[in-house]
């Protein structure tokens, strides 16, 4: 009887420790850098822009919240008043762009010489802002990093 009781307490203790550890780790889990993860899709900037502007709903279902790798011409480098960088991909002839909000953890050296050259960026697709304000449509990528 005592032995049975002992094993029951032991099993409960083990379950509590495993459960507690899992909950603690899950609660404190941080977003992993995108470079540490495998992109779900690899696309060119033109294909991505066409997907969102022509079939928005399908593109949302496919890309929204996922890590994607995008290759395209670097259109502009924007630095905001807080020192955050945004890399803009796309054709200069098009008003639509892909705006990649760069990860503040990994800030490479940005040079204007990069403008016009093809680059590959990995980031989390947060969606599409259509051109409702007269500023051009945008697909936004968060936590972005240059592909090494």
């Amino acid at each position: 009887m005592q032995r049975k009781m002992f094993y029951s307490v032991l099993i409960l203790l083990v379950i509590s420790i495993i459960g507690g550890t899992y909950l603690f780790r899950e609660f404190n889990r941080r977003n992993l850098p995108v470079s540490a993860q495998t992109p779900l899709y690899r696309v060119s900037s033109n294909v991505l822009i066409a997907a969102f502007s022509e079939h928005g709903e399908a593109a949302n279902k496919k890309y929204l919240g996922n890590i994607i790798e995008v290759t395209g011409n670097l259109k502009a480098i924007n630095k905001d008043d807080k020192g955050n960088y945004t890399i803009v991909l796309g054709d200069t002839a098009q008003t639509a762009s892909i705006r990649c909000s760069m990860s503040s953890d990994k800030q490479p050296e940005y040079s204007k010489k990069m403008i016009g050259n093809p680059v590959t960026i990995i980031g989390v697709c947060t969606g599409y802002l259509p051109d409702e304000l007269g500023l051009g449509a945008d697909i936004i990528l968060n936590r972005s990093e240059f592909k090494q």
Partner: protein
């Protein structure tokens, strides 16, 4: 002498009759979302750094657009809960504000200075629209406009339900902070 006079007149006329900049914008504005209460185990704070904002200085019309998936939280689990259980960002990916500075006439956009502005408009989020009225600060600085505002939104107004289990740990009224540095819109 005549040449000099003509040149001076030309310079003066271009300065006098050049159209004043009317629209200002940014695509890197910041919006903060804070639903922390004293009983929250952690700060429930999310920040979006890719806010699009346009201000028409002539009419005072102000528009902001933001993607809900773009809010970043310190903890991944919090961010997942925010997107999946609260704002349902797959179903409602965008939030927008369309309003007007009701005291726009009191702002002198031609001169550097700081002004208290009253903003009134409609905020659409989670598929619901609600009237917002708040007071913010508008600063004109070296050809740029800095907009700042902090206001509260009642989550129930946007049909965002806080589960009973965490009702005492998540605010029913979230604090929204807006921080946008606007550049003149060329062309």
């Amino acid at each position: 002498m005549k040449k000099l006079l003509v040149s001076a007149l030309f310079v003066l006329s271009t300065g006098l009759f050049a159209p004043a900049q009317e629209k200002y914008f940014t695509k890197t504005g910041k919006i903060g979302f804070d639903a922390t209460v004293p009983k929250s185990p952690e700060n429930i704070i999310g920040v979006n750094k890719s806010v699009t904002c346009v201000l028409d200085t002539k009419t005072g019309n102000l528009q902001l657009a933001v993607l809900m998936k773009g809010f970043e939280f310190e903890r991944a689990l919090m961010q997942e809960h925010f997107n999946e259980n609260y704002v349902e960002s797959n179903q409602f990916p965008k939030a927008e504000f369309r309003g007007v500075l009701t005291n726009n006439a009191s702002v002198n956009y031609a001169k550097d200075g700081s002004y208290e502005v009253k903003v009134k408009g409609k905020l659409t989020m989670h598929g619901s629209t609600s009237e917002i009225e708040t007071v913010g600060t508008l600063a004109v600085r070296a050809g740029h406009i800095q907009l700042n505002a902090i206001f509260q939104v009642l989550l129930a107004d946007f049909k965002i339900n806080v589960p009973q289990l965490v009702a005492d740990k998540v605010a029913t009224q979230a604090k929204i902070s807006v921080d946008c540095l606007l550049d003149p819109l060329k062309g």
